[in-house]
């Protein structure tokens, strides 16, 4: 593997040309059409098991795009992203199962809860140095997981089961194919949202703060507010993923929101290329489909993955498909 990395390295030109071809605005609409067609046609082709895996990959596209706002756009290392995912899933779980809410009504509550969680973790800590922030987010992720494991209302270690399936116009949403299409639609929405955010005033402020915090502040950008906005945006993406994750499985438990989960999402962002939306999507597919393809090597696959992450950081630190600005 190491040799492979080294040999491909001297010729980045070819890879870059390929990416440039995808970035070309003239080809863009054709590319979008191909991607939408592939998304629509995938379930019958890949079969039931493949559909479930692809659904999971699409969930990770949403989560990775959300974390990318925090890490890639604003340059803040968040090691507890699974906490926001958990907040979304548990809010929906608790409200539908214990308070008899309609599924769709829980979404605004979940988003508010995630935003509040983003403010709680971000508010006091965003003034800290970046490495302190990383460890505080890690601690926060653990607090949420331990809380979910021990609180009565979250069902403790066994979690919540029997979360009712949502329905639209009397039609109940169940089955892997239905959820595949739901997640595909959400992922497309997430891509559009991330793209719009990146090119907004706020998006430019994020890039500026990441690039040079002091200069950004000197130009009148309120860095704490801008960073907080990144946190809240990331939290909202995570919560949406969590809400539909809960609806899809009908059951959630603390194991789904561990530190490993946060790391997996972070890996998707870094593998693909921090800040680069197509790169992050690619990264999400790699972290989910990669282990499936490597299933034969069993317990070694996580090790292989960790080594790949290390090699990427050493030889291609801006990811497989890096942004032009970085």
């Amino acid at each position: 593997m190491a040799t492979n990395k080294v040999t491909t390295r001297p010729a980045p030109g070819a890879i870059e040309r390929l990416y440039a071809a995808f970035d070309d605005p003239r080809r863009r609409w054709a590319l979008y059409a191909v991607i939408i067609a592939l998304l629509l046609l995938a379930p019958p082709v890949v079969g039931r098991y493949g559909t479930v895996i692809l659904t999971n990959a699409l969930l990770y596209v949403i989560l990775a795009l959300g974390l990318n706002v925090v890490v890639g756009f604003a340059g803040l290392l968040d090691l507890g992203y699974a906490a926001f995912f958990a907040v979304g899933a548990y809010t929906t779980g608790i409200l539908t199962q214990q308070f008899g809410f309609n599924f769709w009504l829980t979404i605004p509550f979940a988003l508010c809860a995630a935003a509040i969680a983003g403010v709680i973790i971000g508010g006091p800590t965003l003034r800290l140095r970046s490495d302190y922030l990383a460890i505080v987010t890690l601690g926060f992720g653990e607090i949420v997981r331990i809380g979910a494991r021990n609180l009565e209302i979250t069902g403790q270690a066994s979690g919540l089961t029997g979360i009712p399936s949502p329905s639209v116009f009397g039609y109940t949403l169940t089955g892997p194919t239905t959820y595949y299409y739901i997640f595909a639609a959400l992922a497309v929405l997430a891509v559009i949202a991330a793209q719009r955010l990146l090119h907004s005033r706020l998006g430019r402020a994020w890039l500026y703060v990441r690039h040079d915090e002091d200069a950004a502040e000197a130009m009148g950008i309120n860095r704490v507010r801008v960073k907080l906005a990144a946190y809240i945006t990331g939290a909202v993406f995570g919560a949406i993923g969590g809400v539909f994750f809960a609806a899809n499985l009908g059951a959630i438990s603390p194991q789904s929101f561990s530190f490993q989960q946060s790391v997996l999402v972070l890996m998707a962002v870094i593998l693909g290329g921090m800040g680069k939306i197509p790169g992050v999507i690619l990264g999400a597919f790699i972290v989910i489909l990669g282990p499936e393809l490597l299933r034969d090597i069993g317990s070694l696959r996580l090790l292989v993955f960790a080594v790949i992450l290390l090699l990427i950081m050493l030889f291609r630190p801006s990811g497989i498909w890096p942004g032009r600005r970085s």
């Binding site: 340059g75 290392l77 302190y132 990383a134 460890i135 607090i143 317990s299 992450l309 290390l310």
Partner: protein, 304 residues
């Protein structure tokens, strides 16, 4: 048990726990001092130390037994081997990244942590390994409180190691160089100090102390597993922050304070047991928010 007995019991527990935290926190703080890197892999170095110590103990237990003699030999072997592992990690993973953006080197450290963890996971199949020793169950009684000899020897060895480190840092050439590098790396280079070597020595010392703590934890708790470094890594970092990151005395103090806090917190209703980790992270967040320089740290002005 009377209240005094409970307090004494928790004091003893806190000291044992605190000396483990202090040993691991020292590595964090030393490495942070010289290269300003938060070494996420440090907890996993501790875990590797426990496994190397376990391997060494299994090898020597046939000849010199698995008593204190064997344990100290195993601890020494683990410290040397893991010290070199620390140097290799520094050379391979961190050295090329020193000039890279901070986010990249943090993620590299995270990747090193994952590599170590998953290598141990693959080698042990995720099973908990029993760390068997021939130590007896003797001890001394203080009223209703029973203190194991094992605990006494472990705390004493931790203290010896910390005194050794303190002497190394304050009395030797490398110690002086280490302090100088943590103040101003570029100036050290101009003064003819081999900065790279000083960094390597720092990684060696920090990793060796973590390895010693890992072996001690194996002896104390009797079981080791691939994920044992995760939580202690976080807590030792908390300890280093409480003491003031970059300060060696601070790390020792922070470790002991955190150990004692945790031990006493287990006695408070609703905080004990499962919630004690939440308590620790709560302390971390409070310290970072209200006194980010910790007890003994110097405030650092970020220059543009």
């Amino acid at each position: 048990m009377s209240l005094t007995d409970i307090l004494i019991q928790q004091l003893v527990n806190g000291l044992v726990l605190g000396s483990f935290y202090a040993l691991v926190a020292l590595g964090y703080t030393m490495i942070f001092g010289v290269i300003k890197l938060l070494n996420f892999a440090h907890g996993d170095i501790y875990m590797v130390g426990a496994f190397v110590g376990f391997g060494a103990l299994s090898l020597v237990s046939g000849t010199i037994g698995a008593g204190w003699m064997g344990i100290f030999v195993a601890m020494f072997v683990a410290m040397i081997a893991v010290g070199f592992l620390g140097v290799v990690i520094e050379q391979v993973a961190y050295r090329p990244m020193l000039s890279a953006p901070r986010l990249s080197i943090l993620i590299t450290a995270l990747a090193v942590s994952l590599v170590l963890q998953n290598a141990a996971l693959a080698l042990t199949d995720g099973q908990v390994t029993a760390f068997r020793t021939d130590l007896g169950f003797g001890g001394v009684s203080l009223g209703a409180v029973f203190v194991n000899y094992t605990q006494i020897v472990l705390v004493a060895s931790a203290i010896v190691l910390m005194i050794g480190l303190e002497l190394f840092v304050s009395r030797t050439m490398y110690g002086k160089a280490m302090r100088a590098v943590s103040l101003d790396k570029d100036m050290c280079r101009l003064m003819g100090i081999n900065v790279q070597r000083v960094i390597a020595v720092t990684f060696f010392a920090g990793s060796a102390l973590a390895a010693a703590a890992g072996v001690m934890a194996g002896v104390q708790y009797g079981r080791i597993w691939y994920f044992m470094g995760f939580l202690i890594g976080l807590k030792a970092f908390t300890a280093a922050v409480i003491g003031g990151i970059g300060s060696i005395t601070g790390a020792m103090l922070g470790g002991l304070i955190l150990g004692l806090l945790e031990a006493f917190a287990t006695q408070i209703p609703h905080i004990g047991g499962e919630w004690k980790d939440v308590f620790t992270f709560g302390v971390l967040i409070l310290v970072l928010v209200f006194k980010p320089t910790g007890l003994l740290g110097k405030s650092e002005v970020e220059r543009m």
